[in-house]
Assembly symmetry: C2
Homo-oligomer: 197 residues x 2
């Protein structure tokens, strides 16, 4: 493999997200506090009219140091991959300069997301090298608001665990759902794949 | 939703790929010919030492006009999402300036890929708006060379069809597998999520 001239491909974050991250100097030790930041990102994303009511972040699992964040950027970037988890993972990999957040010599990384992953993000998580996943809202919460979580295998939680990824669910689930309500109240777009039409 | 200042997020392609695409002025009418281009991309990606032995392209399904291409850029971009299919889909969406390749008023789009999608790409395909998928090698072919296709639902083909996405398999399957052999012969990296380690 050569190191090619092909440029890196992070998802560029809005300036307010960059500022929020720069201000977060203190490590966040508990899953609750990490989720608090992620839900704040999701809510700000709605309030600023940027995109869907989802936020995510990558932390060094043990220290709680913030590595990267993501918000849903699907509509503003014209990119259906730009889910909060995908943005956070891609930006973490840029940050550590490796496509593998679990590469030898690296501290274990954790993805914290305001909602359980859709089928795409579920597939992306083991590829990313993170060692643990913390989720707020459940997939069925997102589906109740009209989002299509895709055809995720029924045993997705086990499938992650089989690939060495610990899963913690329902962290601040209620607060994460409040962000969906806020999005709905503002008439936010429910972009979806069509279903057979 | 406002149209934010957040920049678009295509995957930048190496110059040789851009040239190859610019030279492809003639629409490719048959699935066989479309796959031929995609396998050429996969092979060139290996020969140039850019990344994994995978190529993909998005076409206007009916005319065969080429919209975008992708090759595997995982290692050179430090981005585990940068599978050929993801790159092609993201670049097609940039091209048509929509996160939905199946938006009203748009011609139907087709994704052609040199290998059946992994779990991530499987999840991404319905979100992208493409109406059909053409595959070369089978997932088990890639797995025989050590690639981890992830925990894709067993009924993935049906799941796509339920979301209105037609599937054509085994187009030039043998030729696609030859590219895997070439990659292996050159000692190409098999990057994988760890499995429980």
């Amino acid at each position: 493999m050569t190191s090619s001239s092909s440029a890196p491909s992070p998802f560029n974050l809005p300036a307010w997200v960059e500022r929020l991250v720069q201000d977060q100097k203190t490590p966040l030790v508990s899953a609750h506090d990490r989720m608090g930041l992620v839900i704040q990102l999701a809510l700000s994303n709605v309030e600023q009219g940027i995109g869907g009511p989802f936020g995510a972040a990558v932390f060094e699992a043990q220290t709680g140091a913030l590595v990267s964040v993501g918000v849903n950027l699907v509509t503003v970037t014209n990119c259906s991959h730009a889910h909060a988890e995908m943005v956070a993972l891609a930006n973490a990999q840029q940050q550590v300069r490796s496509f593998d957040l679990g590469a030898p010599g690296m501290p274990p990384h954790q993805l914290v997301t305001s909602c359980e992953p859709c089928a795409m993000c579920f597939g992306a998580i083991p590829l990313s090298g993170v060692r643990s996943l913390v989720c707020g809202a459940r997939s069925e919460d997102a589906e109740a608001f009209g989002f299509d979580e895709g055809a995720k295998p029924k045993n997705w939680a086990t499938a992650l665990q089989e690939r060495g990824i610990d899963l913690i669910r329902d962290v601040c689930r209620g607060e994460a759902v409040v962000v969906f309500q806020e999005y709905q109240k503002r008439g936010g777009l429910i972009y979806n794949p069509r279903r057979g039409r």
